[in-house]
Symmetry: C2
Subunit: 270 residues, 2 copies
């Protein structure tokens, strides 16, 4: 699968900008799954199967798997998406970044071991720290730019010569790191003006936008600020609000209803 | 174990600033280990046992384990250090960083699952992205400041109002994030002037200094620039030059010789 092609096809053919984030927290699972050895896989698999026709991508967050020694379940989940829902890309949300030789190992982890189609990465260590990702033209590289958390401003909002650090990162990625056309940026929905600013700086580069739902971001302002002229360009990610909408045996059906409503709310503003 | 106490005890009692980095690459293992299911554990265990009296800490790099589905061997290695060489702290080099709820999971991964005594972390997402680490006063939090790779300058050397971004990070950590006295900084030996600059900005904060050995950093300039008045304050990390010094069955003894020489070369300048 070629990530950027698959993403664009998904936007168009499925008419959705929604990304379902997979942040499995066993403490919040429905009672009937608790105690099962494969609970994380089964919970996520049910969410995936219930929402696959509503999303442009899935985004598992690796920390939730690593904290529970469940890397094997993450591998199985990504295989499941590719087998059961071909054409839907999977973003491994790992936010890695390290020097060249180590970065090579992180690329092996993301793309060979887990079979992800794209990965999130941290730009703080500069170009060579993400080069092994960038060189894989078929894979997406989604760099942190303006994050949705309160501390996001600590560094990203610093003035670096008349513009903010996050704007510098947006330009650097758009003008220098995107030689293979496989880059995207993370911009939080909690700062819709900055979504618009990054859109203005990056042409039609895809933006991964977390922060709606539990984090309180404004869907209307995010879509209006971030969409491209054809009404796409965004992967708007929601995790907890969808995953934990229901608490019973019908949790996946309830999650589907919330995903449907979220997709609609997004499409209202395209 | 309390990381900062253990580190200071190790500096004083063992008379060493050397940190051996564990970046196991099976392609470079001696022939007699190749093909063994536990080759990564056995290779690293031999290095650890051969060098434990020469180091102030060990630093496994998680990407090398993750790329080979060897998280279980990493867990076993850290348990081995604590059991066989009590008092020597282990730094999990993972450079994680994410929003609050995910950062909690990364803290569980590092400290509960792997049992590390300290972790490296990326400051780009700001204070709340590392708060779950900072709140563990017994654990060390080693933040990226000025990294040793060529692309390190892409962001870290930007002017943010009369000083460089890495200097801003050094101040931010020293003045605001170090409430529990458990912070340290990563500063590459490839930029010894900047090691001295960070030392001047941070009082006696420990600095983790990669970049000697294979990366070509200058030991003399690093030690003179980075030592505290009592001749400590540094964890000078060497990985590949030590790990792969020998290629035969005696690889651990050869590694010990290089570690001894490196420790001596460092101590010559304290």
């Amino acid at each position: 699968m070629h990530f950027m092609t698959a993403l664009r096809d998904a936007w168009r053919e499925r008419d959705t900008l929604l990304c379902v984030g997979l942040d499995p927290d066993p403490a919040r699972f429905p009672a009937h799954l608790k105690g099962r050895r494969d609970a994380i896989f089964e919970f996520c698999r049910a969410i995936i199967d219930a929402t696959a026709d509503l999303v442009c991508c899935f985004k598992p967050q690796i920390a939730y798997f690593a904290a529970h020694r469940a890397e094997d379940q993450l591998e199985a989940l990504i295989r499941h998406v590719h087998a059961a829902h071909p054409g839907i890309p999977v973003i491994l949300d790992a936010k890695r970044g390290d020097i060249g030789s180590t970065a090579e190992m992180y690329a092996v982890e993301a793309f060979e071991r887990f079979g992800a189609d794209a990965v999130t990465a941290n730009p703080y260590m500069g170009h060579d720290s993400v080069r092994p990702y960038l060189e894989r033209a078929d894979k997406g590289v989604i760099l942190l730019c303006r994050t949705s958390n309160p501390g996001g401003s600590d560094l990203q909002f610093l003035d670096v010569g008349g513009h903010r650090l996050y704007e510098h990162v947006a330009r650097l990625v758009a003008e220098q790191w995107n030689e293979n056309g496989n880059c995207a940026l993370v911009v939080g929905a909690t700062f819709p003006d900055e979504v618009a600013r990054v859109r203005a700086l990056t042409g039609e580069m895809p933006l991964l936008v977390p922060g709606i739902g539990a984090q309180g971001g404004d869907i209307a302002a995010t879509v209006r600020g971030g969409r491209t002229p054809d009404g796409t360009g965004l992967m708007i990610s929601s995790s907890r609000e969808i995953l934990y909408a229901g608490g019973g045996e019908d949790f996946a059906a309830v999650a589907r209803e919330v995903a449907q409503a979220t997709r609609r709310a997004i499409n209202d503003w395209r």
